[in-house]
């Protein structure tokens, strides 16, 4: 009866899938082994104080498996538990995973992170903020040693706050149309700067400012995925194959690219103006474009990332 049971894990919508379903479809079948799974009951030590429900995995699923035969470590955030927010345990599991990759002595070359997060969990903000810093440090240490970290973004919560910062430290990002990448969320901007600055209820505006297509076109993400787990797997494989090195020369290039971007697009009032400046003939049609047509267009006109990413 259940359509889910009939559906191949890879055909499942990424947006709809749970963290575990995403991992199941991303990795080679049955290759996943979880670290500190729900049975270990490493729940948040803080949420009880607020009389809030806990989850036995604290909203982060981590473990090892293989991707096209290659051993990888993988983490996926569960956006449906507290908006995928970083708490103490949640953050520590991701830090530990990255440190384990770094300590593997070259046996693990790739870490995949399926982001789905609103940022730091307000109820454990200090621990969460520290976790963000620790994760970025562990990630950069791993990358400096030659490791690759691939971020995958297409969940309900998007990738906001500290998650947005961490995604900026990855070797490569894949995003779907539904995915959003930013630091401050739409409501936060509206609350602080007023509805004239940013109308968080105008969702078309939110998506063309922070959404997957825009992030792909300005080179924040290097791959665009259709909203299926299979499409994200293909994007991850492609990103692993072309992930750049992480060194001073690459950082200098990235800095120069960002300065150029500011010069080119700094005066634009709306993402559609940026798309026009990039060379899109009909920028207003981009939000309605299907994935295949968009990928073809993006491959043609998207801002190239330099070697830092």
């Amino acid at each position: 009866m259940s359509a889910l049971l009939n559906e191949h894990p890879a055909d499942v919508s990424w947006y709809e899938a749970s963290a575990r379903a995403r991992i199941a479809g991303l990795l080679d079948p049955h290759s996943f082994a979880e670290f500190i799974g729900p049975a270990a009951r490493e729940s948040s030590p803080h949420l009880d104080i607020f009389d809030l429900p806990k989850q036995f995995d604290d909203g982060l699923v981590a473990g090892r498996g293989t991707l096209a035969g290659e051993p990888v470590l993988i983490a996926a955030q569960e956006g449906r538990f507290m908006g995928g927010a970083f708490g103490e345990v949640h953050g520590a599991k991701l830090t530990g995973l990255l440190r384990a990759a770094h300590a593997s002595g070259g046996r693990i070359n790739t870490v995949l992170i399926a982001f789905d997060t609103g940022g730091v969990r307000l109820q454990e903000a200090n621990a969460g903020e520290l976790a963000i810093a620790e994760i970025m440090r562990a990630m950069l240490e791993f990358r400096a040693g030659g490791g690759k970290v691939i971020g995958l973004i297409g969940g309900r919560a998007g990738c906001y706050g500290g998650g947005g910062l961490i995604s900026g430290c990855c070797s490569g990002l894949a995003v779907s149309e539904e995915g959003r990448i930013s630091v401050s969320g739409p409501e936060v901007i509206e609350t602080n700067k007023g509805v004239e600055e940013f109308d968080s209820k105008d969702r078309a505006l939110v998506w063309r400012t922070m959404g997957g297509k825009h992030r792909r076109l300005i080179g924040v993400a290097q791959q665009f995925a259709d909203d299926t787990v299979a499409s994200f797997r293909a994007a991850a494989l492609s990103l692993v194959a072309k992930a750049p090195l992480f060194n001073l020369a690459a950082m200098d290039k990235e800095q120069a690219r960002l300065e150029r971007r500011l010069q080119r697009f700094g005066a634009c009032k709306d993402a559609t103006e940026i798309w026009a400046a990039l060379g899109a003939n009909d920028p207003k049609a981009i939000p309605e474009m299907n994935a295949d047509d968009f990928i073809a267009l993006a491959d043609q006109i998207a801002e190239n990332s330099d070697d830092a990413r």
């Binding site: 009866m1 259940s2 359509a3 889910l4 049971l5 559906e7 499942v12 919508s13 947006y15 709809e16 309900r156 149309e177 539904e178 209820k201 105008d202 969702r203 078309a204 505006l205 998506w207 959404g211 297509k213 939000p287 309605e288």
Partner: protein
Amino acid sequence: MRRWNAEREALAQRIAAGSAFARGKIVAAADAGALIEAVIRPFDRVCLEGDNQKQADLLARALAGVDPAKIHDLHMVQSGVVLPEHLDVFETGVAKKLDYAYSGPQAGRIAKMLFGGKIELGAVHTYLELFARYFIDLTPNVALIAAVSADRDGNLYTGPNTEDTPTVVEATAFKSGVVVAQVNEVVEKLPRVDIPGDRVHFVVEAKKPFYVEPLFTRDPGAITETQILTAMLAIKGIYEPYGVKRLNHGIGFNTAAIELLLPTFAERLGLKGKICTRFALNPHPTLIPAIESGWVEQIHCFGSEVGMDDYIEARPDIFFTGPDGSLRSNRAFCQTAGLYACDMFIGATLQIDLSGNSSTITASRIAGFGGAPNMGSDARGRRHPAEPWLKAGREADPDGLPALRRGRKLVVQIGETFGEGNAPTFVESLDALILAEKLGLELAPVMIYADDITHIVTEEGIANLLLCRDKDEREQAVRGVAGYTEVGRGRDAKMVQRLRERGIIKRPEDLGINVLDVDRSLLAARSIKDLARWSGGLYRPPSKFRNW
């Protein structure tokens, strides 16, 4: 000697006064306030067209801005209290008394103003009831209405959101009242004539579209697995056994889930063509997959829905459309259709008590009734038979003489045992009673009375109240599907078990539904984007519902 044409003479005076601001019938937007001051008199009954969706927003602002020294103590008789200006007129003293039907977005403020004595309340009505009173004792002296366009003669095109306008104009214009229409534009030739010009005295050119509230769009992305479970229970436990073909769906995520399960779950049950073929319904975007899959034969609409216009125009075999191609809705006719020609109403509510009375009133919000009490009631004047109606009648009165036995309309309340903010849906006593006491009302505002409701569906199962034979059975049937609410935990477990054995209560497993099978992948569309795709790009969702 009695004069028999005093109203006609007053009308002539009002029109003469208003004509000072008009060229022919056309009045500039800037003169709307002056026109209103010229045609309205203190203590008039005024219908300021606020429908469920369409709002005469320019005329509302103009009325709120008139001089209370000239215009005061108006008696507002309108179906929808939706815009802030609809209540501002009571703050300034321009209006004093209110008779209405629905106040969704203003439910909180209207409650405060009623408690503060700012508004003298006539009554809260259903749509049909208020429309009926327009012709008996609440006939407007002046109607301020909204249309898409007008020609120089005052003929009006009301567009897909015709809604209440024909009823309001009928009652006003034929009883010597003044009709003022705001239109988006004045044109040479109308796409079609919805209101003949001789019923319209003044036309104010607003030069921009009137406000329409997108009330009937539910994002499939927000439908929960619990709601899907309730939808599966309803389809298998009610739609299928009664063979419900003609029906009305209330607005909500549970009914949206039912609509989205038709082409998947219900199709696999072989129910296509056997259920859900004819609707009295607003054009719900979530019905698109069922329409596209060939489930639906015909839909008559109360109003329209933002973004659905092109889709409806492309499906004239399904919808009622004009010679111009666009939807013709009509709230009064559709309410009548829902009352007399549908065999089932299904909708959600906020509170249900132990006998089955339900209400959407909480102590701080008075949302009004809208159409639900008409949709959700047994029409005592109905005389035509239909199998679902007859079967329900048999269940309620198995010993009655068949040829003299009334049928029963199926009136189903569907929802989770805990609603928004984890508030229990099941309560010992309705908040509506507290409200009635505080406001000194003779009647508590009950949405659907216990003697009209036939079934309750929650994630715990279905209670068939038609089969209950006394008050105790009824109470235990309600408690038996009330889950972990206080009401549910107060059940007599043995009696509930006996009710289950008699089929009065049905659990998911009794209907062959495995709760582990409940999954969002059963929905024919899981996002607004999916709905747009199903429509072949004809459905154009408003920005607030997009995630692309």
